[in-house]
């Protein structure tokens, strides 16, 4: 028998009172004319359209660029909540970097039997080309977007580690910018920690990871698949904000053992490449030979210390969903401490007992593909029809090792602005973490994604999710 989960609302307590982080905001909100807020909401949408903050949707000929709906009620975290969260994230990110180095070098965690060898050896994200190589400053995950969900006042869980090329940070920055423009008076009343340093910190963090071959001030470039990519806006936004060149694969080539970009005055060396393309497309000579997006020969230059690639190729081994289930062990193994942030209970369908349990309880579980992302290829048991469950059961039985299952978490809710005033909707949180040889830097807040449909738990922007500005209060 499953117990009906109770949902934790971050603003309104069961007795109707307002939680402490939201008190000042609540008083301000109640003093507002709803018509004014309505017009502010439209203003925000016009602002996003004009500035072109859009994402592309694959497979839609008409209206290829869509806006991610923005909700004007902020999600607010207290200083205390944030400081615990950020400690937990930092611990986890340090462990992840130690783990990746270990996997590509001594493999002590495998030898100690804490993780099954097969999980690494047969993993698509594991790149043999990285064996025995240490990237500059020992950093593999320069940029991480840790997905956090909450189920109770003190109950935060890590849902995914996103150690490859997490996106969404431009929305974090633009959401704040929009709120500042729309409601300057709120920021005078409530002291919110700023997020605007992110691009500067990103640049600094990338520069600090420059390769041995770098002479003088490191030259940073952002590598994008091009204007048709769904996250192109973000790529150009970050390049612009950092003062870095935005390049595509065909702008780059190997020149005298370095990677150089084609400028109006000839080829110029790039020291650090913040790439927003997958490992597989990075180098047609080492990986997918069909790739037109990458740079032939870049892996050789990389291994010879001629360029820093962020994030490092092969870092995806750490955010695989099967590896995820071992994260508490990984944190303990490398830091000697208990993990501060909890993992969501995860059933590995590769294991017969777990598979049986999952098949028996499909209607209550969320089943995900081990390598999937973006909410595609997953089953949300409680929301699925009998037919969908039956279809999924066949896929699961055919390839159990491709799947993991988790209980349906009752994600916390935060109110959104609707015609009738405020209405609770489920949210998650993606804080953005920068790692460099000098340390770990976490921007206070992050991107709050919100499922705009009442009762829905799917927050992905590709499936009808929206975003909110996320506030971390000053102490």
């Amino acid at each position: 028998m499953t117990k009906e989960p109770t949902t934790y609302d971050e603003m309104i307590q069961p007795d109707g009172s307002v939680t402490s982080p939201y008190r000042t905001y609540d008083a301000w909100f109640k003093s507002q004319d709803p018509a004014r807020l309505e017009s502010k909401s439209e203003e925000a949408e016009a602002f996003f359209r004009r500035t072109g903050i859009t994402f592309n949707v694959y497979g839609e000929a008409e209206a290829q660029e869509r806006l991610i709906p923005f909700d004007l009620v902020p999600r607010i975290l207290s200083h205390r909540e944030w400081s615990r969260l950020s400690k937990g994230i930092e611990q986890r990110v340090r462990a992840i970097n130690a783990f990746i180095w270990d996997i590509y070098n001594r493999q002590e965690i495998l030898r100690a039997g804490r993780i099954p060898k097969d999980l690494v050896a047969h993993n698509e994200a594991f790149l043999p080309q990285m064996i025995g190589f240490t990237p500059p400053g020992n950093v593999y995950t320069h940029i991480v977007g840790t997905d956090i969900v909450r189920t109770g006042e003190g109950d935060f869980f890590v849902l995914e580690d996103n150690a490859r090329t997490p996106s969404g940070v431009s929305y974090m920055l633009e959401n704040r910018e929009t709120m500042l423009q729309m409601f300057p008076e709120l920021f005078a009343q409530i002291r919110v920690q700023p997020v605007s340093d992110y691009p500067k910190n990103l640049r600094r963090s990338l520069s600090a990871s420059a390769p041995q071959a770098c002479v003088g001030k490191p030259r940073v470039a952002v590598l994008t698949p091009g204007i048709h990519n769904s996250a192109y806006f973000e790529h150009s936004f970050l390049a612009d904000q950092m003062g870095a060149e935005l390049v595509e694969g065909h702008d780059l080539r190997v020149v005298d053992g370095r990677i150089a970009m084609r400028t109006t005055q000839g080829y110029r060396v790039v020291d650090v490449l913040y790439r927003r393309i997958d490992d597989d497309f990075l180098d047609p000579l080492s990986f997918n030979p069909e790739s037109m997006l990458g740079v032939p020969g870049i892996m050789d230059v990389y291994r010879a210390g001629g360029i820093t690639i962020a994030n490092a190729p092969g870092a995806g081994i750490a955010d695989d969903k099967a590896i995820y289930s071992y994260m508490p062990e990984i944190v303990e193994f490398y830091t000697g401490e208990k993990a501060i942030l909890k993992n969501v209970e995860t059933h590995r369908c590769a294991e017969p007992d777990a598979l049986k349990y999952v098949l028996d309880n499909l209607a209550d579980l969320v089943v995900k593909e081990v390598h999937g992302s973006g909410g595609y290829g997953m089953l949300v048991g409680p929301a699925a029809s009998k037919k969908e469950i039956a279809d999924f059961r066949k896929k699961l039985e055919a390839k159990p090792a491709n799947y993991i299952a988790q209980p349906t978490l009752s994600l916390s809710t935060v109110p959104i602005f609707v015609d009738q005033g405020l209405a609770p909707r489920h949210v998650d949180l993606r804080p953005f973490v920068l790692v460099s040889p000098q340390g770990v830097n976490i921007t206070p807040g992050g991107l709050t994604r919100v499922a705009l449909t009442e009762g829905s738990l799917v927050v992905n922007s590709s499936q009808g999710g929206g975003t909110k500005d996320t506030w971390v209060l000053e102490d």
Binding site: R49, T51, G52, Y232, D240, L246, E248, H250, R262, T264
Partner: protein, 313 residues
């Protein structure tokens, strides 16, 4: 600057310029057809020919009518030079080079695209045409204003300007070329009423019908108009003006980069030709021949610029 970025800027401004020129050409054609309904079909045909891609039009339609030509030039996605097509191409290039643009320029180009997309969603009727063309012209003015008012005067600006003037020179030259027979000097000092209508059409398509009168130095003759369109440096759409601007922006690039390319020599040759020729020589050599050669040289210059500044790998 990345070669690709320079190329994106150059093409972005070529497309923006083309949008405005197409709108102007359409306006001139529309007036002509209104005032001379008997010959409307051949006038519309010459409008399509002037805008380029007459082959594409004829593959699609058998006749030249106001409705068909308006739709072809304003909205048709099959016409890569239709206002909507080039507006989208300009915006795609702007997205490509967004890091090189000020927020104001980007927003103006994005707004241009959004406005025209709404404006041209359904076919434009002849009743609505003047208002629609006014909006298209106004949108171009906003982009140009943002460029003038907010961009640094550096290589970014130079590539934007070079794209503008290579395109504009091409447009003006093609207008002259399609109508060249009406510009040949005739025996009579004053043109017939038929000539007058044609000349007015030509002047309108470069927005010069009023300024020609204002200058008020010469009578309206074929020679005076041809001279005006080719050699008058005060007219911002004359060939001489465009060549002067292109040469100047190329010289700034030479100074900034400390490097001289073959395109600099080509541009200088074009400039010397303009300076060393007068309208009588043009008529002696043949107006059609001279203009055809200019179009070829101007295009070759564009191609050379693309190579010299490494727009592509």
């Amino acid at each position: 600057m990345l070669g690709k970025t320079a190329g994106g800027l150059y093409w972005m401004f070529r497309f923006l310029e083309r949008s405005e020129n197409t709108a102007r050409l359409l306006e001139a054609g529309f007036r002509m057809a209104l005032t001379r309904s008997s010959d409307a079909e051949s006038e519309w045909k010459s409008v399509v020919t002037t805008s380029g891609n007459g082959i594409g039009y004829e593959a699609k339609y058998d006749t030249y009518t106001d409705t068909l030509v308006m739709d072809w030039l304003l909205r048709d996605a099959d016409n890569p030079s239709s206002v909507m097509s080039v507006t989208k191409s300009a915006r795609d290039n702007a997205r490509l080079v967004r890091t090189a643009l000020t927020t104001e320029v980007w927003e103006a180009v994005n707004d241009n695209w959004m406005t025209l997309r709404d404006l041209l969603r359904d076919p434009i009727t002849t009743v609505d045409l003047p208002a629609a063309l006014a909006i298209i012209r106004k949108q171009s003015a906003l982009v140009r204003g943002a460029l003038y008012g907010t961009m640094l005067r550096n290589d970014i600006y130079d590539f934007a300007r070079i794209g503008t003037f290579i395109e504009r020179a091409d447009n003006t030259a093609r207008i002259i070329d399609v109508k060249y027979y009406t510009l040949l000097p005739s025996a009579s000092a004053v043109g017939s009423s038929l000539d007058n209508v044609q000349w007015e059409m030509i002047l309108r398509s470069v927005s010069a019908h009023r300024c020609f009168r204002w200058l008020d130095e010469k009578d309206m003759t074929a020679t005076a108009i041809a001279d005006f369109l080719i050699f008058d440096k005060r007219l911002p759409r004359s060939l001489a003006f465009c060549v002067k601007q292109t040469t100047e922006n190329l010289r700034y690039l030479e100074q900034e980069y400390q490097e001289r390319h073959p395109c600099h020599d080509q541009a200088d040759r074009l400039k010397r030709w303009v300076a060393g020729t007068d309208i009588n020589t043009v008529f002696d050599l043949g107006l059609h021949e001279v203009v055809t050669e200019f179009i070829r040289d101007n295009n070759a210059l564009g191609t050379q610029i693309e190579q010299d500044f490494r727009f592509m790998a």
